[in-house]
């Protein structure tokens, strides 16, 4: 049976894994097809900062050899995956999208990386992001922005725009993102893909370069709900190397994704996440999707979370405070860039010069903001008060989850905006995370699923599902129900409506 390489890149991860396991195709063929696709579309999309085709093909060949020898393969063995460049992989550069780490090759694997490699997944390369994951558009990457495959003049979201765009552009069936304030869910929303932020502590942060330690959480990006669940299953679970890792069984996310049964489920629409400031097409598709869920047997009610309106300001105090502390390690002494070490400058001066040269504008903004919020005299009014708001947001969630099984809202107030539109207007940029931030502050599980195109601009709209801590399976149950019903209506996945990308001539990766 002949399968063109284009067909292989369009298939789901679940399907590819079955085809590899059955011998219908090989991991080498699958990986090569994705490398070819990258060569064709990367000049336009720029989802990747680093690709090591040779290493990926060698890993694929090992999976094929294991299969030939009859060894047991994991459920995603041989399937390619893209890794956000804020997680380490030994032997591949980790830049975090920053000049301060340009060329730095970590000596160890992140736990998420190690679990994927142990499961036989093949890492294609490292994806682009806003510098140190600070941003909502990937425009803060020191290595240039990623372009949204739906419209190359628009942002792919951020910070994980590279991972979302790689998946949406068929450069990889799966990717890893990290979500601190929406960096998995907002890119998923604006690229018409699936993105899940697990319960805080559900996936390990070991080997994840920290932005805000109490908020950061790695999670899966995919084109289908089941694919995301399969990747979630691989990367999740207790890790003794992360002191905040939860020592409890991983919720049955794969079972939930296969079921998609929402009959009798109580779904709460968050009153505060809608109305003024939300694009009409976003509201329209969101409400249609909620009606769809009601039609499938879910019980829909409106729920109020009055303190959510304070979540965004609290987040922009908590995050810069933690970031200013976490990024103190980039001092030019032990790794990464060192500037001004000409014999005339002291270590302290070299630190200042290194951080001036190595950090971009948004990173400087947030470090200085955090320094301010943590300084004596302001601590109580800013950081202290933000921590109390955090308690109130968690209490809103607790009260809501006493009434309903999950909460829903639009994932983002608008669809993808144009590159450059908000790049020097931090406050406008921060508003992108309005709906996603509450779950980071409270640590509960949350996801974005595609629910259609906004009629006014033809761009993807995402629906956010929020579930209680450790009830990640509910996200997949709702996501699978929506995916099934909507694809039946559309006759194909949403991404089938995306324009075909112009293929770069002569690009064949080796």
């Amino acid at each position: 049976m002949s399968t063109s390489s284009t067909d292989l890149t369009r298939r789901t991860a679940a399907d590819l894994a079955t085809a590899i396991a059955s011998g219908e195709t090989s991991s080498v063929e699958v990986v090569q097809a994705h490398l070819d696709r990258m060569a064709a579309v990367e000049p336009a999309v720029h989802a990747f900062l680093h690709v090591d085709g040779e290493r990926a093909l060698a890993a694929a060949a090992r999976v094929d050899a294991d299969r030939a020898e009859g060894r047991a393969l994991g459920p995603l063995a041989g399937v390619p995956v893209a890794l956000k460049d804020v997680l380490t992989q030994a032997g591949a550069p980790t830049t975090c999208g920053s000049k301060v780490l340009e060329g730095w090759v970590p000596p160890y694997d992140a736990t998420v990386t190690r679990r994927m490699l142990d499961a036989g997944l093949v890492i294609l390369g490292k994806t682009n992001l806003d510098e140190f994951a600070m941003g909502s558009s990937t425009e803060n990457s020191a290595y240039g922005p990623t372009h949204n495959p739906w419209d190359l003049d628009r942002i792919p979201g951020g910070s994980g725009g590279g991972s979302a765009a790689a998946v949406a552009a068929y450069e990889a069936p799966l990717a890893i993102g990290t979500d601190t304030g929406g960096s998995i869910r907002q890119p998923a929303s604006v690229t018409g893909t699936v993105g899940i932020k697990p319960t805080y502590g559900g996936t390990s942060r070991y080997g994840l370069v920290a932005l805000a330690s109490s908020l950061d959480q790695p999670g899966p990006c995919a084109r289908t709900v089941l694919d995301a669940a399969l990747l979630h299953q691989v990367i999740a679970g207790h890790d003794p190397r992360d002191s905040t890792s939860i020592d409890a069984p991983v919720p049955d996310v794969v079972g939930a994704a296969r079921s998609g049964d929402v009959r009798g489920m109580r779904i709460g629409v968050v009153r505060e996440l809608g109305g003024e400031g939300y694009a009409p097409g976003v509201e329209q598709r969101f409400h249609e999707a909620v009606e769809t869920l009601a039609g499938l047997g879910a019980e829909v009610v409106e729920v109020s979370c009055p303190n959510f309106s304070y979540a965004l300001p609290a987040y922009y105090l908590v995050l810069p405070s933690e970031a200013s502390s976490n990024l103190a390690k980039f001092d030019g002494m032990r790794f990464g860039l060192r500037a001004g070490d000409d014999g005339s400058h002291s270590a302290e001066e070299v630190m200042g010069l290194t951080r001036e040269a190595g950090f971009g504008a948004e990173v400087k903004r947030r470090i200085i903001l955090g320094t301010y919020a943590l300084s004596s005299g302001y601590y109580d009014a800013y950081y202290g008060q933000a921590q109390k708001v955090r308690t109130l947001v968690s209490r809103d969630f607790e009260a809501a989850f006493a009434q309903v099984d999950v909460l829903v809202s639009p994932s983002t107030p608008t669809t993808a905006f144009r590159l450059g539109e908000k790049v020097d207007d931090p406050l406008a940029m921060y508003l992108n995370d309005l709906c996603t931030i509450p779950s980071n502050l409270a640590g509960n599980a949350s996801a974005s699923f595609p629910v259609g195109l906004a009629p006014e601009d033809g761009l993807p709209v995402g629906l956010q599902v929020m579930a209680p801590p450790l009830a990640d399976d509910r996200l997949y149950r709702v996501g699978a129900a929506l995916e099934r019903a909507l694809e039946e209506r559309w006759g194909a996945p949403l991404l089938a409506q995306a324009p075909e990308l112009a293929v770069h001539e002569g690009g064949v990766a080796k």
Partner: protein, 98 residues
């Protein structure tokens, strides 16, 4: 509360980031606008609300006191801007007159 370029220069010094006068001029009004927006948290009457520093109620986590291999010295030094005699080489720590 308007933040001046001088205030930003003080904060940048604390954060060990050299900034040019042009950057200070550009950053001051931006940071001021952000601070004005985040000051909304002060509207919440929260005197009796306990602060949350972390989403999970966690106790300190300890591992068994067993020696495990640590990162080899060469690996730790491989990414250093400068290394010498199996150590990180750093610029002088003390001032000229120190």
């Amino acid at each position: 509360m308007a933040l001046t370029p001088n205030d930003v220069a003080d904060l940048a010094r604390l954060a060990r980031i050299e900034l040019t006068p042009a950057e200070l001029e550009h950053l001051a009004p931006q940071l001021d606008a952000i601070l004005e927006a985040v000051a909304k948290v002060s509207e919440v009457a929260a005197d009796d609300i306990p602060p949350t520093s972390h989403p999970l109620p966690l106790d300190n986590v300890q591992r068994a006191d067993v020696v495990v291999p640590s990162m080899p010295r060469e690996a730790a030094l491989a990414g250093a801007p400068a290394a010498e005699e199996d150590r990180f080489r750093v610029p002088r720590i003390l001032g000229e007159e120190g």
